[in-house]
Amino acid sequence: MSAADLVTSTPSRRGPGHSRTTRIVIYGLLFLFALVYLVPLLVMVMTSLKPLDEVTGGNMFALPRHLTFAPWSMAWGEARIGVSETRGISGYFFNSVKMVVPAVLISTLLGALNGYVLTKWSFPGHKLVFGMMLFACFIPFQSVIIPMAVILGMLGRIGVNLADLTGWSFGLGNATVNLVIVHVIYGLGFTTLFFRNYYAAFPSELIKAAMIDGASFFQIFRRILLPNSTPIIIVTVIYQFTNIWNDFLFGSTFAAGDTAPMTVALNNLVNTSTGVVEYNVNMAAAIIAAAPTLLVYVIAGRYFVRGLMAGAVKG
């Protein structure tokens, strides 16, 4: 799948020659499937707005009789997360934000740079390099955990030494920094793939024109390529954001206790056994955990269909 194709194709408004019945069937089916997908979310939202007795005693599909936001504030600020001293998921939420934002930005930028070099400054052996990066996309998470742990351990020791020498570890050994490193490396194969495919179709004459105009390697990248990459940047950001935010395995392996990301905290919250299971609080926490990815789709999704390359060359 070419990412460029994905983002520039606009579906036609009305298929030719569809009769009224066909359209009713199509929309009916679409509506049905949308409902199937939305019902769980609806149940979650409703459950999170009910007091606990209404949840345990009542019907899952019933509307809340006593509307309450208490489960949300419980989840955010007071709920017990595993054995940790810290209460509520708010701290973990920000752990995730602190990890996701740099990881997404760095991996996207490096992917763009890789795509640029691999397509427009191709050097001997660039196919092999790209092949190996592509291979990295298919390495399962589990198989890199141990080597990754070894490397992060080494980085941690370097951090300790640096701290002894200079008083600052440069972030090495910090759990959030470790997760950023892991996600950037793991995501690089994908982001490079996205940008390489997009830039392969990018007119080389623009690069040549910029070279004649005297633009340097990075000036061409910054002034010509990046401003014309909005669709693929959005695709990459959505992809990376969703993957990194939703990651559980790396998070639970490399960040323990108070440094854990949101997904790990959610798991700990749900698994904390203090008598009754507070479904309403769990649901609220789960919605909070899912909110950022939903938000990214809502905000960025509309850029998906924009064909920004129109007018660069005669189509």
Binding site: P203, E205, L206, K208, A209, A210, M211, I212, D213, G214, A215, Q219, R223, I224, P227, N228, L308, M309, A310, G311, A312, V313, K314
Partner: protein, 370 residues
């Protein structure tokens, strides 16, 4: 001193040699057009002049200085691309001014230069638009503006008009010619279009498979093609090429075109041919342009050597201003370019005439002109 000098230039892509020893010079104010079939290396040659492709051996001089290893931006050239290559994220003014911006020219000076170029090209009202909001012809102008604003010693054009429709192409062709005449710039121009080549060039270079076939003025290329390839490639419809034999008749050398029935059409040796290259009994290729084949009525009054013969008309193609008539001469089809109202009828014999002043002879073994 020539503005552009190319000496035994060679270019290899891997093991494939794409340019095989090119020698061309172009004087200041000259207009060099590179023509040749697709894939012959025209764009590659232009790119090596621009510095967008390295060269394998040889030398390129611009304004006397060797530029082999100079970055494209340091070569004092500007290029107009076939696809225009306008930066889609910038306005027309920013597109034209980008090169100056990269060279650190102050804003005020830049704006002034952009305004003056926009005035020359009559695109002042477009300066704030994006390329996507322009028509094909307007994009073409902007691309030329981006080149003009640099005031380079050599302009490079790679098929700049091939994306335009026929009418606009003619307009822009005239405009480029006017630009060249008024500004006296030096231009290297790649095209597929022979009319563009003939009308614009002060010098034409014909390439084939990375080898120069001939370099010369448009009239040299057209009237005295160096070999059969050039003769066939330039001109539309193509030059008629007929097999003949050198014979002695009436104590003079003649070219005999054998007819099917065993008789032959005897032609005097064209003035363009070097008699030293003609041996009795040798096979030659007799070449004559369609406009030099006509009937008596429209024959050039100043023609010194004319030969008449009867031939039957096989095809008539009216083309508005002219009528192309295909006749059979010595067993081969020959195209004649006649006036629109020529009195010819399909299948009817008619008296035609060859204007031998315009004829040429080739050696079939080497394909070179004799």
């Amino acid at each position: 001193m020539a503005t552009l000098e190319i000496n035994s230039l060679r270019k290899r892509f891997g093991t494939i040699e794409v340019l095989k020893g090119i020698d061309i010079t172009l004087e200041k104010g000259g207009f060099l057009v590179l023509v040749g079939p697709s894939g012959c290396g025209k764009s590659t040659l232009l790119n090596t002049i621009a510095g967008l492709e390295g060269i394998s051996s040889g030398e390129i001089r611009i304004g006397g200085a060797v530029v082999n290893d100079l970055h494209p931006s340091k070569r004092d050239i500007a290029m107009v691309f076939q696809s225009y290559a306008l930066y889609p994220n910038m306005s027309v003014a920013e597109n034209i001014g980008f090169g100056m911006e990269m060279r650190g020219v102050p804003r005020a000076e830049r704006d002034q230069a952009v305004a003056s170029v926009a005035k020359t090209l009559q695109i002042e009202h477009l300066l704030s638009r994006r390329p996507s909001q322009l028509s094909g012809g307007q994009r073409q102008r902007v691309a030329m503006g981006r080149a003009l604003v640099r005031r380079p010693s050599v302009f490079l054009f790679d098929e700049p008009l091939s994306n335009l429709d026929a009418k606009l192409r003619v307009d822009m062709r005239v405009e480029i010619k006017r630009l060249h005449q008024t500004t006296g710039t030096t231009i290297v121009y790649v095209t597929h279009d022979q009319i563009e080549a003939m009308t614009l060039a002060t010098k034409i270079a014909v390439l084939k498979n990375g080898e120069l076939q001939q370099v010369g003025s448009p009239s040299e290329i057209y009237n005295r093609p160096a070999n059969m390839f050039v003769a066939d490639f330039m001109g539309s419809p193509a030059m008629n090429l007929l097999e003949g034999t050198v014979v002695q008749a009436d104590g003079q050398q003649r070219i005999a075109l054998a007819r099917k029935d065993g008789s032959s059409i005897m032609l005097p040796v064209p003035a363009s041919a070097d008699p030293a290259g003609l041996k009795d009994g040798a096979k030659v290729i007799f070449g004559i342009r369609p406009e030099a084949v006509n009937d008596d009525e429209s024959m050039d009054r100043n023609a010194r050597s004319v030969i008449r013969f009867d031939a039957s008309v096989e095809i008539i193609e009216p083309a508005g201003s002219d009528t192309y008539v295909v006749i059979r001469v010595a067993g081969k089809e020959v195209t004649a370019r006649m006036r629109a109202d020529a009195d010819v009828r399909l299948g009817q014999p008619h008296t035609f005439a060859f204007n031998l002043d315009k004829a040429v002879l080739f050696d079939p073994a080497t394909t070179r002109r004799i």
